[in-house]
């Protein structure tokens, strides 16, 4: 453990006091003078041509200011800009039930709602499809003209010689898996407030993870230059990837504000959050793993059909992430992937915490367990044998600079008593192990660009103190706490000496956004570099004052002194005053660009490249009620490698949140779709997420780790820990009742059915 003054301390979140007092302002809490309300009319049909939209009766209603339809903003957009498929409102046809077809601005929400009822839409209903495998076959359903067989994209990769390795393997196992349709269920519905100033300058306040991509998309869809638009992010009530794409609420608010001249706020109802969706891709996966007798993995062959829902979204990226995820955290010398992302007439899937990882991890970790049993090995030994270490390069040319994955496995196994319990518990009780990893940022931007992915500015003066400006966006994950801690450590001051301004495209320097677990690592590097820039300038003046060479100075607890011998001390702020007197204003910028690694000639091989990776291992204990089929997760013992935690309490929060979220997906979360494509449980009543009474005991350990490439050694911690959750539960259930479940969620009905079948056999 390094000797840090600030890093590694569990400081309370900077925004927590305002949040517990109810004073923190989220987008829907904001009011502007003359503000009006926007509402969106949605299609009842899953697939239909829009023949005509009549809205004069809506406009006649007193208090209604404007109505817009898809024709008012016909520019397609997409988070992956090379393949834009989405519109602010449906253009020409709707592709899922719940898609927006028109939007209204009115003086209050009630009037806006009444106006929606007065809009008449004439549809010509088309045949629809809701299952991705079926969609590939259905010639009669054409969701997007460009996508033949409803296939949005097909990706293929092969590294090494899979056929040869399989033929030579001592044991080969093949299984098929299916995962469910899962929503992020963050607590704050999407909300956007747009406002045009008299000079035509647009400001959008929004609950988003990606102010930059929203900025770009507003510019595209409204046909305004980017420098006439500002995106500002108030407090965000959770995102988990669901606010990692532009939502039609944001575009409609801006379009209606443009049309009416009033500030317009659009806040979703909960059912609209489900229509916007962009949740986890349901996957139909077939995986084949070949091993040698000693348990060494020889090859993986993986076929994945991803249910994309109606539009493109993050789809192509998710597709290739599922490919990338089989290359780690175990050494895989030969790997092949075929993936197809398929359109269906459902709300679009997209990015959700640990995107692309959770589904293949469920398959792979379930299979490793079974392979170990087949070989007469402990599943733990098998994993340890194949686990990657620092300095490993995958067959897909992904370099892993740092890994303490083995330590994670060892710690989780030792702390849980896995070895003593596995295979030895009474019927109905079980224990399961799984490993996982995730990226700490990506190597590439979603559009071609060489600019730094993160940048930061620190300004210091005797009036405002130390102000850190960063484009990184706090969506509840705590970056507004962690980034000042990084700055404080480098500057040698206290964390609460630093004020942070973040998530604003006008006020803060560039940052790509809060996704891909990139903020602590990437924005952290930028912040650290900016702080180093301040020190360099400041120490030159302090050196004169102290009579010590600048390169020998350090600052601790706000005091600058020689790190080698006791002597005079200069207060940090006194040095700042001297600096400004002598040289003028003091500021410095920092930036970070990840290494642009990839693999020439291999489709999609840039995806999955990351400057470093976090790891996690979990041992989960369950109790399966043989009468009711109900699974109670009793205890999860987690050990994670997030490098040096900047704020351990925050890391624990990420781990605990991940475990409980993953548990929901493993056991009960699933959006149900009616035969005509309506969502049957688009509410928090019917779409169940874990409550406080469902939670297991959680024993989490941050293993001793320090990534030398990282800012103060820190890596991701918010998406790695969700990776092992589902397979660890599935493996524990298998240990408890001897049934291997291949489909999520593992509901009581499925368990009872399986127990019945087992008895009959």
């Amino acid at each position: 453990m390094k000797d840090f003054a600030v890093v590694g301390k569990s400081l309370p979140r900077v925004d927590a006091p305002a949040k517990v007092r109810g004073e923190a302002l989220y987008t829907d809490d904001l009011l502007l003078p003359h503000m009006v309300y926007g509402k969106i009319k949605r299609s009842p049909h899953a697939h239909a041509v829009i023949k005509k939209i009549r809205y004069d009766k809506a406009l006649e209603l007193p208090g209604v200011l404007a109505v817009i339809t898809g024709d008012d903003a016909p520019q397609a957009y997409g988070i992956v800009p090379q393949a834009p498929t989405e519109y602010a409102l449906a253009v020409g046809k709707v592709r899922y039930a719940g898609e927006g077809v028109a939007a209204v601005a009115a003086v209050d929400e009630e009037t806006a709602e009444e106006a929606l009822e007065r809009i008449e839409v004439e549809y010509e209903v088309l045949p629809a499809v809701f299952d991705p495998v079926e969609a590939l076959e259905r010639q009669d359903v054409v969701i997007h003209a460009k996508a033949k067989n409803n296939m949005m994209y097909e990706g293929k990769q092969e590294f090494g010689d899979v056929d040869k390795a399989m033929a030579e393997a001592d044991f080969v196992l093949e299984r098929s898996f299916k995962t469910s349709y899962v929503n992020h269920a963050f607590l704050e519905p999407h909300s956007a407030l747009a406002h045009f100033e008299a000079n035509g300058f647009l400001t959008v306040y929004s609950s988003t993870q990606i102010p930059h991509y929203l900025h770009r998309t507003l510019s595209l869809v409204l046909d305004l230059p980017m420098n006439k638009i500002r995106v500002s992010v108030p407090m965000v009530g959770g995102g988990f990837g669901g606010k990692g794409e532009v939502a039609s609420s944001e575009l409609c608010a801006a379009l209606l504000a443009q049309r009416t001249g009033h500030p317009v706020k659009v806040t979703y109802e909960r059912s609209e959050v489900f229509a916007q969706h962009k949740g986890r891709h349901p996957c139909v996966m077939t995986m084949k793993i070949g091993v040698s007798q000693d348990g060494t993995i020889q090859a993986i062959d993986f076929d994945n059909i991803l249910d994309g829902g109606a539009y493109g979204g993050w789809g192509i990226v998710v597709l290739f992430y599922t490919a990338a995820m089989i290359h780690l955290p175990y050494q895989v010398p030969n790997a092949r992937f075929r993936g197809r992302r398929v359109y269906t007439n459902k709300p679009t899937t997209g990015a959700m915490r640990g995107l692309g990882g959770v589904q293949p991890r469920f398959a792979m970790e379930s299979m490793l367990e079974d392979i170990a049993k087949e070989l007469g090995m402990s599943p733990y030994d098998l994993r340890l044998k194949n686990a990657v270490e620092s300095g490993y390069t995958t067959k897909s040319n992904v370099y892993v600079p740092h890994s303490e994955f083995k330590k994670c496995l060892q710690t989780a196994v030792e702390r849980s008593g896995y070895r003593e319990k596995q295979g030895k518990l009474p019927l109905g009780k079980g224990i399961g192990l799984a490993g996982g990893y995730y990226i700490s940022g990506t190597a590439y931007t979603l559009y071609m660009s060489y600019k730094p992915h993160s940048s930061a500015l620190i300004r210091v003066d005797t009036e405002g103190g130390i102000i850190l400006y960063t484009g990184a966006t706090d969506i509840g994950q705590g970056s507004n706490t962690v980034l000042p801690m990084i700055a404080a450590e480098e500057l040698g001051v206290r964390a609460d000496d630093i004020h942070i301004v973040s998530g604003d495209t006008q006020l803060t320097p560039f940052d790509l956004g809060s996704f891909a677990s990139r903020v602590t690592y990437g924005a952290g590097q930028a912040v650290r570099m900016a702080a180093q820039g301040i020190n360099k300038q400041l120490y030159e003046v302090a050196a004169v004052e102290l009579g010590v060479r600048a390169d020998q100075l350090i600052c601790r607890e706000g005091k600058i002194y020689s790190q080698y011998e006791p002597g005079p001390v200069l207060d940090f702020m006194a040095a700042v005053a001297k600096y400004i007197d002598a040289k003028g204003p003091l500021s410095a910028m920092g930036h970070y660009s990840p290494p642009r690694k990839g693999m020439k000639g291999v489709q999609g091989a840039n995806i999955g490249q990351s400057p470093t990776f976090g790891f996690s291992a979990q041992v989960t204990e369950v109790d399966v009620d043989l009468e009711t089929g109900k699974v109670k997760v009793l205890k999860v013992t987690e050990a994670g490698d997030c490098g040096q935690p900047i704020n351990p309490m925050s890391v624990e929060g990420q781990v605990e949140g991940s475990i409980v979220m993953g548990m929901g997906q493993a056991l009960f979360e699933e959006i149900k779709v009616s035969p005509d494509g309506r969502l049957l449980n688009a509410s928090l009543h019917d779409y169940k997420i874990p409550t406080a009474v469902d939670i297991p005991e959680i024993d989490s350990t941050i293993v001793d780790s320090y990534d030398p490439t990282a800012p103060f050694g820190a890596k991701e911690s918010g998406e790695g820990p969700i990776q092992p959750v589902i397979p660890a539960i599935a493996n524990a259930i298998c240990d408890a009742i001897g049934v291997r479940f291949l489909e999520l969620p593992i509901t009581p009905e499925k368990i009872l059915q399986a127990l019945k079948e087992k008895k009959e056999r």
Binding site: F186, R270, G653, S683
Partner: protein, 163 residues
Amino acid sequence: MKKLITLNINGQDFDLAVSPRDLLVDVIRKKVGLTGTKKGCGQGDCGACTVLMDGHPVLSCITLAVASQGKKIQTIEGLSEGEKLHPIQESFVEQGAVQCGYCTPGMILSAKALLDRNPDPSEEEIKQGIAGNLCRCTGYKKIVKAISAAAEKLGGKEEERVR
């Protein structure tokens, strides 16, 4: 047709013109301007809109404003005394029970109602007490810990009282 009503919120009377269909959450947020009360679902499913009415937790998104007259309504803004946080608020901050914070006001008020009626709850009782408040960020562990720590601070814990 609007109706004139008086709501007592955090000890202060507010005269308000509301329609009979207006929900308490909207009146508190939009008419009174206390936006600490959150709306996560508007259907009584998430607990984000929890307020206390005569000390009992109530979901303000399924409560009519007109039916709330004559009651003492407490929102999150009425919990701290000036700058000083209520011990439950303090514990939430200290224990890391706040991430995005959207569930936090409702969670804290449910916790207050629980500790008012049961000053020394077991872990299970705490979990039951907040079972109607969803949180997607924290996994609840630190929230339960914060409530337990607050019970201790408030002197409700058995050993505290003996001393």
